[in-house]
Symmetry: T
């Protein structure tokens, strides 16, 4: 990969799935961070309401290149 990278932890949430929560986290991060290169799933959790999954929450470690 060459160069120097930074990793940040971002938590995405979605009422639908962990996949959607993952996409939400990366899209939101992309609004302020450029050159994102990879992500690692660090944690998967969720909220329950009325006996059903109300929200999927995924913590991603996102790596991006420093310019």
């Amino acid at each position: 990969m060459s160069g120097v990278y930074k990793k940040i932890d971002v938590v995405g949430t979605s009422p639908v799935s962990f996949a959607e929560a993952t996409r939400a986290a990366i899209e939101e991060a992309g609004r302020t961070v450029r050159h994102m290169s990879w992500f690692e799933v660090a944690e998967q959790r969720g909220a329950i309401k009325d006996g059903k999954v109300a929200e999927f929450q995924v913590t991603l470690r996102i790596g991006f290149k420093l310019e």
Copy 2:
């Protein structure tokens, strides 16, 4: 969140996906446990049959409020 909570470990299974296994675990737990508030994914495994995924298994740590 205030109050005191208990966490229990429940394993859901599904032939379709981890998402379905997650929902199955929470629904089943909800038959005897009330006030479920959150879950944490502790482990993801599965069974293989004839070279294909036969079952998705997810261990959830479910938190619920004690009354």
Copy 3:
């Protein structure tokens, strides 16, 4: 389960989802390994391109019976 088993680490990739990456890993492994019995998810990562998830990567630990 009885008998002796071996575990190997296989990384599946997919542009669509972790579920697809899981299936890809097991199908590919099945081309050279017989009697696969279970898998454990060891790691979930992914590649990002142009601010979007470009690839889902899942490391599976696959157990199969030795004959």
Copy 4:
């Protein structure tokens, strides 16, 4: 210690301190569980409101003897 024990996970909360959250968890658990013998601190978290600690949350693993 002799005999057989069970461990349960209980989360105590307090606006004051982790110590208070610990005591709250054990007192509440004691309402339904007898012969509690020891606890292990598994996790320490908390809630923040208006830039200040609003709640201390501690997950205890409590061991008690089965009769």
Copy 5:
């Protein structure tokens, strides 16, 4: 395995061996839990008295099917 399972933590003790402690834990758990299916060894400890092993203690995570 299909269906939904619960996991509980049980600590068995024995003056003789970890094997005996394991059997003691499962037998005792079987008095109140039905459909036990598997166990995982989570921790192995022991007590020492007069410079000798006085007690073997093993923490098992026991999985059983919910009906």
Copy 6:
């Protein structure tokens, strides 16, 4: 919780207690970060001087909402 969150690691220090170190970390973080929502204790250490605790150091993982 809905929305996207970021987690940052902050180390608070105090000559008095881990509780004070926790409050110091969150207050300081609050000077540049808004919408802080929760914290997780990641590490507890300290400095010793002349055979006594000279400083309590706590590493917090602080979660806050991205706007």
Copy 7:
């Protein structure tokens, strides 16, 4: 030890004990692998049937020299 080694994961099973499961794993591995040098216990699990231990399962990481 000098030279280059490979590590493989092998799961041994036995109805009698973890010790027997360990020996079974190493003997079976020895049928195809030469120059085995050491093993590390990575995981201990087991199957339960009719409220009793039906099978001990041990995952070994076996190191052997590459020729």
Copy 8:
């Protein structure tokens, strides 16, 4: 810090708090060890008696300079 250090594990106990248990451990260690420089909290446990916390137990990893 320069030089070579040793780390030892010391368990402090107190009927009052983890803070007191921490201080007790360091003071006692200081009776035989000189040049103690830092500590890391490795484990927090406790004893329960009559449904109340009877003792706080903290395992510290203490670093000190070798002369």
Copy 9:
């Protein structure tokens, strides 16, 4: 348990079993350490010779009271 304790890491070995290796470690430690109170199994390994287990090695963390 009250008082202050120290923990040391001792590795026992035996050609027969982990149980024997455990006893060997504690007996040897008892020659220089008094007031041993408990042990924790930290690691289980072994040596292989001619395709068979040649030695069981167990690392114990032994706790003893400081006088």
Copy 10:
């Protein structure tokens, strides 16, 4: 150390060694971060090309004082 610190994760890369990758990460981080005080090695990886190490990659957790 006194005061409040922040930790960030930086990945350095080098075709030569982990040492060079470490220095590269810290130098690059120093272009935007002041008062860096310590680092912790969190992960060591690398790229392989044509059967040889093509790149050393080290993830550092860098601590620096907040002003």
Copy 11:
């Protein structure tokens, strides 16, 4: 990266340094494995003789593409 990969554990040794041990492991692995793509450092150990480092040992997890 696309496609399916396998990970194997290889231990390299060298009397000189971990860097040499890393290169030795990858070169040796390259004699039977093609398309090696990355490695992860899993463990660093060594042998001591006459009070000096006699051998550096590094366990690498090597990833390579399956054809």
Copy 12:
């Protein structure tokens, strides 16, 4: 290896490299400990000064035979 061993934690430091810090730790330990047999790298950290690595710090777990 046969016999009983003890493991101690020693932290070596060096302004030059982790390799030098490793050698420093083992040499210093060898002044009071005999029959050192192996070491395990438990932690790698360092100090930063004026934006540069000022010191490499490595924690070794050193095993030696008890006579």
